[in-house]
């Protein structure tokens, strides 16, 4: 861009810049290519594989939402499953038809003000995010004054409380029975559309002034405060935004599964996301995206360990639980030997790609 006087930046310039700026142009092209690939996969893969494709996108959303809180602001929060539960239940209860609700609530009738509500899926997803964000605000206000382990254990505690409350609120959540027959509206366009929107949102947020303020808090709270960055305000902001996306992820997950119950939202679910974030690099958006895809696919591949394995000549009886053993060992190995994960806090970017490719070109010339 030629020297442009500062006060002439307008929305028109903004729009023009979006399509003339090389980096944003590359990004738009990359998004289109990704969407084409998704479309092709959607046509060629079988139902089970498409389900995994959906799961990848959902885990990208979840990993990025945790990464914002844990990776960028450096708050060790373990409450993700709770926010996901809020999102999943909100969306399910709002989108299920009155008939399906009536079938579900056979032990105890549903509260009347919810029984006849039905909204469209997009509205439901949006409400899921908003309710989770609200839960984040209510929980964050008291616990974000805590640090490190205390924060971790308090957020974990709140997630458990949410789960216990949902188990006991029979007339709203159907208690331990859970909800069955969630509308089957989730497809790759929904999941990947939201995942890509989440990725772009996070990148823009992190590269902006607020993102840098988040990182400053992560690096040194006391110095950040001395630079005029209000700790509580910024922590709350990240916590609420993270909860919002966790709620959306939870809603999508619920609709993909078709059934939800409180047991689904145990600490184990949070642990899955922690694995992705650690594996991808705590504080790297691109690292997390890659890790979400790898880990999701691997978890499905490892399912063979739990089932029966048939090698033609020999048949091994599957051992239930072995998958999770391998999974835990993986996380231990990453944290013991490869602490910074795939990407550390670094990012994959167009500038980086340019540097690397240029270096490779030079190297081939030298040869």
């Amino acid at each position: 861009m030629k020297e442009k006087t500062l006060d002439t930046i307008s929305w028109k310039w903004w729009l023009k810049n979006l399509f003339t700026n090389k980096n944003s142009l590359y990004t738009i092209i990359a998004i289109i290519v990704t969407l084409i690939i998704i479309g092709v996969l959607n046509k060629t893969l079988d139902n089970y594989q498409i389900r995994i494709l959906n799961l990848c996108a959902i885990y990208i959303i979840l990993a990025l939402s945790m990464n914002l809180i844990n990776g960028f602001v450096g708050l060790f929060s373990l409450g993700h499953a709770g926010f996901m539960a809020v999102g999943a239940y909100t969306c399910a209860l709002l989108t299920m038809s009155p008939e399906v609700k009536q079938m579900n609530f056979f032990l105890k009738p549903m509260v009347p003000w919810l029984a006849n509500v039905q909204v469209s899926f997009p509205t439901g997803v949006l409400m899921a995010g908003i309710m989770a964000a609200l839960a984040g605000a209510i929980i964050g206000a008291p616990v974000l004054r805590l640090k490190d382990d205390y924060l971790a254990i308090a957020t974990l505690g709140f997630a458990e409380i949410i789960r216990i409350v949902f188990t006991n609120l029979q007339s709203i959540t159907n208690g331990a029975l859970g909800l069955k027959g969630l509308p089957n509206t989730v497809n790759v366009w929904w999941t990947w559309g939201i995942a890509i929107a989440t990725i772009i949102f996070m990148i823009l947020l992190i590269h902006g002034s607020y993102g840098k303020a988040f990182k400053a808090i992560r690096e040194d709270e006391i110095a950040a405060e001395a630079m005029g960055i209000g700790l509580f305000k910024h922590k709350m902001m990240a916590f609420i935004i993270g909860s919002f996306f966790a709620g959306i992820g939870g809603a999508l997950l619920g609709h993909l599964m078709g059934t939800i119950d409180p047991l689904m939202f145990r600490f184990l679910l949070t642990f899955n996301i922690v694995l992705i974030v650690v594996f991808g690099g705590i504080g790297s958006i691109t690292g997390n995206v890659i890790a979400a895809v790898i880990v999701t696919i691997m978890m499905e591949v490892l399912r063979v360990l739990d089932g029966r394995m048939d090698f033609g000549f020999i048949e091994i009886q599957g051992i239930p639980g072995l998958r999770m053993v391998v999974f835990s060992i993986m996380l231990m190995a990453v944290i013991l030997f490869w602490q910074r994960g795939l990407m550390g806090t670094k990012e994959f970017s167009w500038a980086w790609l340019k540097r690397v490719s240029r270096r490779m070109v030079f190297r081939t010339k030298d040869c």
Binding site: E160, V325, M332, I335
Partner: protein, 301 residues
């Protein structure tokens, strides 16, 4: 609530509180020295009950030998855990150590599923622990009375070790100032191993008694008591052994009373029993973050 029922619940509360206290001490000691939440402590506790179970059912050993073996194996396991999962990360950021602890916890749970199976197992009943005792109308199983007595005994021994022995002195020194203790020639690694050993021993004693009182074993049985006992340690003031005992009893008493009182309530509260610990945690963190017995600390700038 009649007095008899109240007394009966009080006995239950005392025994549950004792079990929580034994487990909470393990958390508080490790935290006091390493500033680490040993997430796997609850799973070490779970293992001890399985050790005792297999010694009694597969090897048909008498209960006292089985319990001794269980305690010894658990101690070994606890020290090995520290070496494998925590020692390599001693100088890493706290977030890494904590993730390692969570991973270790899940690894143990899932190994237990693989080796012991996911189906609940019944802890064998030992006649002298399952007798019904009646004192002036209050009836209770003998184990409910034995648990608090054993716990008090164990606490006295623990008090002796910490206050009177050389190792105890070293432990106190390391928890006051890790670096200074190291520079004074204290072998910090030995002290830490010893701490994990004691913590595991207490967890194992609690574990076998837990098995006798609540005789259903599942691989995930350590998860909830583990979390709750860490909370008990925080409530009492982390790093403080007396605090852990107090926290354990508050928790045990509160939980039993929620269930007991719930009978008389218009709305059944017993489902919220497990939430009590977490509500208590959040209340204490907001009101007195250093716990009941804790001292406040100032961050150095």
């Amino acid at each position: 609530m009649s007095l008899t029922i109240f007394m009966q619940q009080l006995v239950n509360a005392a025994s549950l509180g004792s079990l929580y206290a034994l487990l909470a001490i393990g958390y508080t000691m490790v935290y006091g020295i390493l500033r680490l939440i040993n997430f796997a402590h609850g799973d070490v506790f779970m293992l001890s009950t399985y050790f005792a179970f297999y010694a009694m059912t597969s090897f048909l050993l008498p209960w006292y030998i089985s319990f001794a073996i269980a305690i010894i194996l658990t101690i070994l396991f606890g020290t090995v855990l520290e070496r494998g999962a925590y020692r390599p990360l001693r100088n890493s950021p706290r977030i890494s150590i904590m993730i390692s602890a969570i991973a270790a916890s899940f690894l143990i749970q899932n190994l237990a599923v693989v080796f012991f199976g996911g189906i609940p197992k019944a802890f064998p009943s030992v006649p002298i622990f399952s007798k019904i005792i009646q004192i002036s109308g209050v009836s209770s199983s003998s184990i409910s009375v034995i648990i608090p007595i054993v716990t008090i005994l164990v606490l006295f021994i623990l008090g002796y070790i910490i206050n009177q022995t050389k190792m105890g002195m070293a432990m106190r020194a390391v928890s006051k100032d890790y670096e200074a203790a190291r520079l004074m020639g204290i072998n910090v690694n030995t002290v830490i191993s010893f701490t994990f050993g004691i913590g595991s021993a207490l967890a194992a004693i609690g574990g076998v008694m837990w098995g006798l009182k609540y005789p259903q074993l599942i691989p995930l049985m350590g998860l909830m008591p583990g979390l709750k006992c860490f909370i008990a340690a925080v409530v009492g003031g982390i790093g403080n052994i007396k605090g852990a005992v107090i926290g354990g009893f508050i928790l045990g008493f509160g939980e039993i009373m929620i269930v007991a009182v719930s009978v008389y309530m218009p709305y059944d509260l017993s489902g919220y029993r497990d939430a009590f610990a977490f509500v208590l945690l959040i209340a204490i963190l907001l009101l007195k973050p250093d716990g009941i017995m804790g001292k406040s600390s100032v961050e150095k700038v």
